[in-house]
Amino acid sequence: MFGKRRNIALLIPNMLACVHKTGKPQISGWEGNAMDTMTEFREVVDQPYAYLQKLKGQTGKKMVGYVCSYTPEEILLAAGAHPVRFFGTKEQIHLADSHLQSYSCSIVRGVLEEGLSGRIGFLDGMIFPHTCDSIQRLSDIWRMNIPFGFHLDLVLPVKLNTSSARDYMTDVLRKFQNDVGRALGVNITDDDLQKAIGTMNAIRQSIRDLYEIRSQYPHLLSGADLYTLVRASMMMDRERLAGMLAETAVKMKAKAAGEKPDASLKRIILVGGMCNHPDIYPLIEKAGGAVVWDDFCTGARYFTELVAGGDDPVAGIAERLIRRVVCPAKHAGLDRRAKHILRLVREHNARGVIFLLFKFCDPHAFDYPDIRKSMDEAGIPVLLLEMEDPLPGEGQLKTRFEAFLEMV
């Protein structure tokens, strides 16, 4: 489901302590109950299927998978279902090879592998929002080959900056609401939706709070830990998660109260599709860097923007999808992404940008030269790291990060 490599630092959090230069013993900011909280997140990320099957057994909730951050989780929650994000596979890909050519990305091939292997046969359904050309075909191949669960397409608009596109977004979400209701045999009411919006807003706000704290005091919260927390957020029971995250954010704020920012850290922003390799975080940290923000769909693009209150919950959800930080597979103007990344660099006082480019990810690969040009013009150093599966060896990565951080 995730990158093939196990993150050793995740399993032994104290290892990270030695790299911080604050002089105080650190355990990544987690103490007491917070430590238990982190343990729970780690368990979910390490053994997601065990967690999901247990959750399904205990609650009887329908498990519904999805592959793109434009999925309106609120509608699934309102239907009483449990949304689960898929990121690829931890296993070798062989079954998917007889359906997808080698030039489709590891995420698309990995998700299909999980379906074909039956490892996620406990799913009750799968949602395919219109994203890129590869996910579009993954949807067809899934529908034609996977015997378990229902299959739903959510054909979102590709352009977002016109009034007809905005109306279509609302129309298609209403259709989705009906489709989900029919697939699950439930009637989704506005009250259900308002409650789900409240939960998702709380989750997004808490993750954002934690990102803000990390940006101010990167030494308090390691990149790998925040990665784990965000990943877990897309898989855990959302009610429980909302409480845990709120509590964690409060504790982290309290912890941060007596802290001073560590000026020695070289502040970096990560940009790309997603990161399936958490081991890159300790490598960056060991080289003297600190990831202070990201533009990932399994990161900041997931939690930015909340659904505004209003009488029409579906219109509110649509509005959020229109306004949120844009994915390169969609169009919201010619310079939206370059400007957004420049703004992130300035707001978070970053000294460099690292692009993690998934091999065969067309939308990001098309954007890269333009964003690179904007960064060059603003004098912001950029490192491009093409993410092949498997990644280059640790030694090679370490050398590249060190050389880059030396330069910034």
Binding site: Y103, D140, M144, Y168, D171, L357, A365
Partner: protein
């Protein structure tokens, strides 16, 4: 030798010269647009061109240009140039060669005429969206995105409403760019002419049903240019009427496209532009004629949704439901229908690294074809423009092996 030459001459399609003349005149006209106070729009191959014709805007097709770059074997050089600009070598080779060509005015015709506006319809892929964004930034000109929601299993009423509204927006965009209102009568005429052109193109392709076939898919790849670039003009109708008459004459005279048509094949995906001649000879040596393909019929495959008298209204659905904007199972059905219609003995699939919407799903289509029609299938790994992804010896060996299987089957 003279016998060989006269046989070659006999099989040569005479309309070809006229086609070259029309295309040359078209590109000269497009290059002179500025002097003649005409506007140029770059448009995607599946895009709604008829409103441009009605507004006297000259449509120019970067994809047609990409095909010319590929056919003239200039693709590698231009793709490498794009890679030096930071574009990954995994990206579409049409896009790569067009993006770099715009900066150096290279390629077989010294670059395309500079556009005044861009019209991007994503009914063929998501790649065109990113490609046209790049060009809109480079030329700093208006970009109209015609967003046709993908029809996995249906054309929803929500999508219908959205696409129909975009037709109004598109007309308003063109009126703004040209500074005048659209002449509705002219638009109706263009719509009827476009429909007529599509019908004729389908009739031309239909002649390949005859045994021996008067044309091959390689011929179709060439004669396709007009239905793509000049759809909606009288010239296209005149040309295809001539071509159709020539095909009918060939059928009467018993002239096949290849000397001995023993085996009939269906082609899937875009052509391998830089190996057209080699591939056509290779198959002809095996007495195999590629009689049809899924690609060239895409420009007349959605005619059933068009009302020729209400073209503008009905084009929303027609442009949304073209071959590449539908589900893999729907595509497989169309492939099966072509297998039956053209009575083919084998199916050749070009797995094209450049085109994910066309290629991802081919394995499933192949399985469906094998199961439902039990004919041999061959998948060729290549790229439409970038020769670096083509191994001639490997493809040659595989074609030989594939043809052996077909011959064996035919014998029994």
């Amino acid at each position: 030798m003279s016998e060989v030459n006269s046989d070659k001459e006999k099989r040569k399609i005479k309309s070809e010269k006229k086609m070259r003349d029309i295309m040359t005149a078209y590109y000269i006209d497009a290059k002179m647009a500025r002097q003649n106070n005409k506007k140029v729009a770059w448009i995607t191959s599946g895009g709604p061109v008829e409103p441009l014709i009605a507004m006297d805007v000259i449509p120019v097709y970067p994809e047609n240009h990409g095909a010319m770059i590929g056919a003239s074997k200039m693709g590698v050089d231009l793709c490498e140039k794009a890679e030096s600009m930071g574009y990954s070598n995994d990206l579409c080779s049409y896009a790569r060669s067009d993006i770099s060509c715009a900066t150096v005015n290279g390629g077989p015709i010294g670059g395309l005429p500079e556009p005044d506006m861009l019209v991007c319809c994503n009914n063929i892929c998501g790649t065109v969206l990113k490609w046209y964004e790049v060009q809109a930034r480079y030329f700093n000109i208006p970009l109209f995105i015609f967003d046709t929601p993908f029809c996995h299993t249906e054309y929803t009423k929500e999508a219908k409403r959205y696409v129909e509204r975009q037709i109004e927006e598109y007309v308003a965009f063109l009126e703004g760019a040209c500074g005048r209102k659209m002449d509705q009568d002219r638009m109706k005429d263009v719509g009827r002419i476009s429909f007529e052109g599509q019908k004729l193109w389908q009739e031309v392709l239909d002649t390949a049903v005859h045994k021996p076939s008067p044309m091959t898919a390689f011929d179709a790849f060439f004669h396709l240019a007009l239905i793509v670039t000049l759809r909606g003009t009288q010239q296209t109708i005149d040309y295809y009427q001539g071509l159709l008459a020539e095909m009918k004459d060939r059928i009467h005279a018993g002239i096949g496209a290849i000397p001995r048509e023993q085996y009939r094949l269906l082609w899937d995906n875009l052509p391998i532009w830089y190996r057209m001649k080699w591939l056509s000879q290779k198959f002809a040596e095996h007495d195999a004629c590629l009689v049809a393909d899924t690609y060239t019929s895409a420009w007349c495959g959605a005619m059933k949704y068009i009302d020729e008298n209400k073209f503008l209204d009905s084009m929303a659905e027609a442009y949304s439901r073209i071959y590449l904007n539908i589900g893999v199972d729907e595509m497989a059905k169309m492939v099966i229908a072509m297998i039956d219609k053209y009575q083919v003995d084998g199916f050749v699939l070009h797995s094209n690294r450049s085109c994910k919407p066309y290629s991802l799903g081919q394995f499933d289509i192949q399985r469906i074809v094998e199961k439902e029609r039990n004919i041999p299938c061959l998948m060729i790994e290549a790229d439409m423009v970038d020769e670096r992804s083509f191994s001639e010896s490997q493809v040659s060996t595989r074609i030989d092996a594939f043809m052996e299987i077909i011959k064996d089957r035919k014998r029994t």
